[in-house]
Each structure stands twice: as structure tokens, then as C-alpha cells.
């Protein structure tokens, strides 16, 4: 074992500790804070990239914190899927942070600016820890850091609507966290352990299946609120549309996905399914809600007038997609779900950052105002169009690959109704995305709407957007690099 076995713990801990050190720098040199905040995330990304190919043959890289073997101490457990998601988290947080530097200094000032970067780093580190941990209580702790920092980041502008949206988020998020804690209590009472790997073994021969089923339901509800699964999504459109754009990108591109991953982890790593028919029927119920989410999110997105609101509802719809992949219970479906996390993270982050560009340069939030936008902001518009194509799932993009596998997985699982839902969802996505593309490129703008001094957004804001949108194309064309190993990992899980 080389030094790389220490990498996961540093990927998680270094951003958290640097967040604590950042106020000192803010006190000395306020100007350096945005740059310094990138360092720990870049460090984590490098460690994450160095880990590629280093995951041992048994399928995961375990790390015993404090040197205590797993059921006694806390274990970090990075499997292939977790590593994949950690890389997505590192990449998107780094790009969103790079975008923030110019964008956020207009909306937030003074001491709050440092607080913004502190919370940003805490949120990134917590997301990495949330994915990496192999202990259910540690999962709860990281979930709380994540939740607290995201509540505050939604409210950071201090604008009255933002505070209200944040409070709504707290009112839904905090009870859901408590439900997760109660679920942890339930499974602890039935098994006497908190380590995920140990739980799998003990759940298989536990005598208290009723307790475990209710614990599972509470987990699904608790993480479902964080993941904004359809009937529990009420906080999402407000919070995502009112938060500053880089934060919307993080919330929409990563936070909901990480929470979905938690459900995935609980379902397949902890409960390992199959111990009772009731688990399967819970998952069936989740599938119905997910299908409803796809349709509801799509229809609501079409009805929106505000650009960010539309993207937020599109997220509701796409979370439904990911859940439909999980509930298919086939390797293809799960691969599709994971690949959709990548694609959705890239595309949604890109769309929100593009919306941020429109707001930053012209102050336009309404879809109507985007008519004829390409004349003044061609780069932003083209990036937006590319990301939209991925959202709609048109062939060369990653969105197509992920939806292909989602549909394949559902056909193999015999859920033909969900295949129809997925196709209808794609049509709905086409309606709301192509409307905007049509407005941007083929409609004349209003008088004076796109004139004046200001040109397209600054390069430091365009670069992250373009990296993200080219990412959707890249992972679409080169999907054969990742798909086989993901399929392997999923077959291993099932």
C-alpha cells in the first residue's frame, strides 16, 4: 500500500480545515481569498485524479480512521462509484468557485464575502465526506455540515426573498435530517452497529425486519427531501432560483445528486435488498414518485417565465430520471443513473452559470428577455445551447448516453411504463429547452434590449461555462471510457 491510501481522508479534510483558516487570510488580505479558496479544492481534485486506477481489486479503498478496525472506528470507504462521484464533485465545485470570483463580489460584500468562501469550502468538503464515508452516523454528520452551509448560502445575499427561501429550506431540511437520525437509531437498535459493511452482514440475518423496513422508509423520506424527490421538492424551486448562480449550480448540480447517491448507497450497500419483499415494494413506490417527478418537473418547467426557475424545475424532473434508474434494479439502469449524475451535474451547473452570466451582464432573469441574446452574448448562448442539448438527450452528448442506459435498464427490468415516461420526459425537456434556444438565436430582440457597451461576460466567467458544456460533449463521445467500468461496479453491487 502506497501513500495513496491516505488520499480519501485528505480529499475530505483539507477543504474543511482550509475553510477554518480562510478567515485569517480574509483579515490580512481580502483580495487573496477567492484565489486561496481554490487551492484546497484543486488539491482534492489532484488527489482524486491520482486515485484513478488505484482502487484495489476487491472493489473499494477502505481507510480506518485512527487505526481502529471498522466496526469500532469510523471507516472511509471509496468504491469505484464513490470515486467517480467524488471526481464530479471536485470538478464542478472548482469550476463554480472560479466562476464565483467575479460574480459574487457584486452581490455580496465585506465580511460576508469571506463567509461566502468559508461556507463554499465547507459545503464542498462535506459533499466529499458524504460520498466517501462508510459509517452511517458519520454520514449524518457530513449531511448536517452540508445542510447548514447550503441553508446559509441560499440566504447569503440577505435579500428578503432569499431569506424566505432559505427559511423554507430549513423548515423542510431540518425535520428530514432528524428523520435520518431516527432511522439511524432504528437500524442501530436492530443491529448494534453503525458501520455500513458490518450493517449489511447483520441486516441479512436480523430478526427485526419490521424495524428495518421502517428505518429504510425513513431514510428514503429523509434523503428524499434533500434530493428533492417529487412530493418533497417544494423547497427546491425557490431556493435554487433565488440563490446566487454559482450556488444554484452547486445545489442543483451536486447537492441533490449527492443525496440521491446516499439513497443509492443505503439501498444497495446497507440494506443490500432482497432480504424482504417489502423493501422492493418501497422501492416500487419510489419509482412511481420518480415517474411523477419526471412529468411534473417537465410540465412545470414549460410553464415558468423565470429562467432560473425553469432550470430548477428541470432539476426536479431529472432527479426523477436518476431515481428511475435506481428503481430499475438492473446494472444498466444503475449505470444510467450514475452517468446521469455526471451529465446532469455538468449540464445543470452549466445552465445555471449561463443564467448567472445573463444576470451579471444584463440583469435579465426572464425568459422573454433572452430574445436575440446571441448577438451580444454569443459565447454564453452557444454554451447554453450545448448544455440544453445534453439535457434533452440528443446523440453526441452525455445526456443521450445516460438516458440510453436508463431506458435499457428499464426495458431489462420489465418496466415498460417507465420507458414511456422517460421518453415523454425527453420530449418535455425538448419543449422547454428548444423554446429558449429559439428565443436566443431566431427571435429578434426587443428594442434596445441587447445594445450598449457591455459585451459578452468576462473570460473568467466564460471559461467555467465552456469547460462544463464541452464536458457534456466529451463524456458523450468518450463514454466508452467510463461505461464498462461502471457496469462492472454495478454488477458487483447487485
Amino acid at each position: 500500500m502506497g501513500a495513496y491510501r491516505h488520499f480519501p481522508v485528505f480529499m475530505v479534510t483539507v477543504p474543511l480545515v482550509c475553510a477554518v483558516l480562510l478567515p485569517f487570510l480574509g483579515y490580512l488580505r481580502q483580495k487573496w481569498v477567492p484565489w486561496a479558496a481554490m487551492l484546497p479544492l484543486a488539491f482534492s481534485s489532484v488527489l482524486g485524479l491520482l486515485l484513478i486506477g488505484k482502487i484495489p481489486a476487491e472493489g473499494y479503498l477502505g481507510y480506518e480512521l485512527g487505526g481502529w478496525p471498522p466496526p469500532w472506528g469510523i471507516e472511509l470507504r471509496v468504491d469505484r462509484v464513490g470515486h467517480f462521484l467524488m471526481l464530479i464533485v471536485c470538478g464542478i465545485t472548482l469550476l463554480a468557485l472560479a466562476f464565483s470570483r467575479r460574480y459574487i463580489s457584486r452581490e455580496v460584500s465585506g465580511g460576508r464575502l469571506t463567509a461566502y468562501y468559508v461556507l463554499f469550502l465547507l459545503m464542498s468538503g462535506a459533499m466529499l465526506g458524504f460520498v466517501a464515508t462508510g459509517d452511517v452516523f458519520n454520514l449524518f454528520v457530513f449531511m448536517e455540515i452540508l445542510a447548514l452551509s447550503s441553508y446559509a448560502l441560499v440566504a447569503i445575499t440577505g435579500n428578503r426573498n432569499a431569506v424566505r427561501a432559505a427559511f423554507k429550506y430549513v423548515l423542510m431540511g431540518a425535520p428530514s435530517s432528524i428523520m435520518v437520525l431516527l432511522a439511524i437509531g432504528f437500524i442501530y437498535s436492530a443491529t448494534g452497529t453503525l458501520n455500513m459493511a458490518d450493517l449489511t452482514l447483520r441486516i441479512a440475518d436480523s430478526r427485526y425486519s419490521e424495524v428495518l423496513i421502517v428505518a429504510y422508509i425513513l431514510f428514503v423520506i429523509g434523503f428524499g427531501v434533500k434530493a428533492a424527490l417529487f412530493p418533497l421538492h417544494m423547497w427546491l424551486p425557490d431556493a435554487h432560483s433565488i440563490a446566487p448562480s454559482p450556488i444554484s449550480a452547486l445545489l442543483s448540480g451536486l447537492l441533490v445528486e449527492v443525496s440521491t447517491f446516499a439513497i443509492f448507497r443505503i439501498t444497495f450497500s446497507v440494506f443490500s435488498m432482497g432480504s424482504s419483499g417489502l423493501f422492493a415494494s418501497t422501492l416500487d413506490a419510489v419509482g412511481i414518485f420518480a415517474a411523477a417527478a419526471v412529468l411534473y418537473g417537465g410540465i412545470m418547467a414549460i410553464l415558468q417565465k423565470d429562467l432560473k426557475m425553469m432550470i430548477a424545475y428541470s432539476t426536479v424532473s431529472h432527479i426523477g430520471y436518476i431515481f428511475l434508474g435506481i428503481t430499475a434494479m438492473t446494472a444498466e439502469g444503475l449505470t444510467g443513473a450514475m452517468y446521469h449524475m455526471l451529465d446532469h451535474g455538468l449540464a445543470k451547473a452549466c445552465l445555471f452559470l449561463c443564467a448567472g452570466n445573463f444576470i451579471f451582464v444584463k440583469g435579465y432573469r426572464r425568459i422573454e428577455d433572452l430574445k436575440g441574446a446571441w448577438r451580444q452574448m454569443p459565447w454564453t448562448c452557444f454554451a447554453f445551447a450545448l448544455a440544453s442539448i445534453s439535457v434533452v438527450a440528443i446523440p453526441p452528448t452525455a445526456g443521450f448516453i445516460s438516458k440510453w442506459y436508463l431506458i435499457l435498464g428499464n426495458i431489462k427490468g420489465g418496466n415498460y411504463a417507465y420507458v414511456v415516461v422517460l421518453l415523454v420526459g425527453a420530449i418535455l425537456a425538448a419543449v422547454y429547452c428548444f423554446r429558449i434556444i429559439y428565443y436566443m438565436f431566431f427571435q429578434p430582440g426587443k428594442e434596445g434590449a441587447w445594445e450598449g457597451e457591455s459585451r459578452d461576460a468576462a473570460p473568467s466567467m466564460l471559461a467555467p461555462v465552456w469547460v462544463l458544456s464541452l464536458g457534456t460533449l466529451f463524456f458523450g463521445i468518450l463514454s466508452y471510457l467510463l461505461i464498462p467500468s461502471l457496469l462492472d461496479a454495478m454488477n458487483f453491487l447487485l
Binding site: 448536517e144 447548514l148 426573498n161 424566505r164 427559511f167 431540518a174 432528524i178 437520525l181
Partner: protein
């Protein structure tokens, strides 16, 4: 009868439901936060009771205490973490309440969310108290 033997658990479930009811039904946001705290406390009570042992002693190994009679120390350690988390969430929520009250002049959710549909820019409600 196992249900009545587990009366600690029943009490904590009852508290959990009372807390959730308060969070959902009460219109005053301070009361909602109180409900949230009741929920948290109920889960703490539940977890602590899980570690109970009939006739148990505190898990402190001094003076030749018998380890087999000690209560389970793990839930106590978890709850210490849980309490800190609960305090942190409450602090943030109260900070938001202060800001909300300053901006809307009310603590009533119905008033807070009434003008949501219209975008919320009009309808200053200063001076009204909840």
C-alpha cells in the same frame, strides 16, 4: 407485553409526533422551531434509551467497575454530537428568523408566504407584530 416494556421508546415517538405536528401546523415560526427542537430531543431520548441496561452503571472504568454491567456508551457519544448539531441548526434558524422579522415585520408563515406568487417586492408589512 413488549410494547409496554419499551415505554421509553413510546414516549420518544410521542414526542417526535408532537414535534412534527408543531412544525407542520403552527403558524408562528418560533413555535415551528420549538417543534423542531422537540423532535430532536425525542430522537436523543430514543437513542439514549437504546443504550440502557437493566441495573446498569455508568461506563466509567474506575475502582474496578464491572464492564459487563455498564450501560452502552456509544449512544451517549453519538448524542453528544447530535446535540451540537441541533444547537447549530437552531442558531442558524434563529438568525434567519431575526432577519425575516426585520424584513417582513411578522413571524406568521401565512403572512410571510402570502405574497410569494407576486414576486414579493410589493406589500411592505412593517409594524405588524405576531
Amino acid at each position: 407485553m413488549r410494547l409496554f416494556h419499551n415505554y421509553h421508546y413510546i414516549a420518544s415517538m410521542l414526542l417526535f409526533c408532537i414535534g412534527l405536528y408543531t412544525v407542520i401546523v403552527r403558524r408562528n415560526i418560533i413555535k415551528k422551531l420549538i417543534g423542531l427542537n422537540i423532535m430532536e430531543t425525542s430522537v436523543f431520548l430514543f437513542l439514549i434509551s437504546l443504550g440502557y441496561l437493566d441495573g446498569g452503571i455508568a461506563p466509567i472504568g474506575i475502582g474496578g467497575a464491572d464492564p459487563s454491567r455498564m450501560v452502552n456508551p456509544l449512544p451517549q457519544a453519538l448524542i453528544l454530537t447530535g446535540i451540537v448539531v441541533a444547537v447549530s441548526v437552531t442558531a442558524l434558524a434563529l438568525a434567519l428568523v431575526i432577519l425575516l422579522y426585520r424584513q417582513y415585520g411578522t413571524l406568521d408563515v401565512d403572512r410571510l408566504f402570502r405574497d410569494e406568487e407576486t414576486g414579493g417586492e410589493e406589500g411592505e408589512e412593517k409594524g405588524e407584530t405576531a
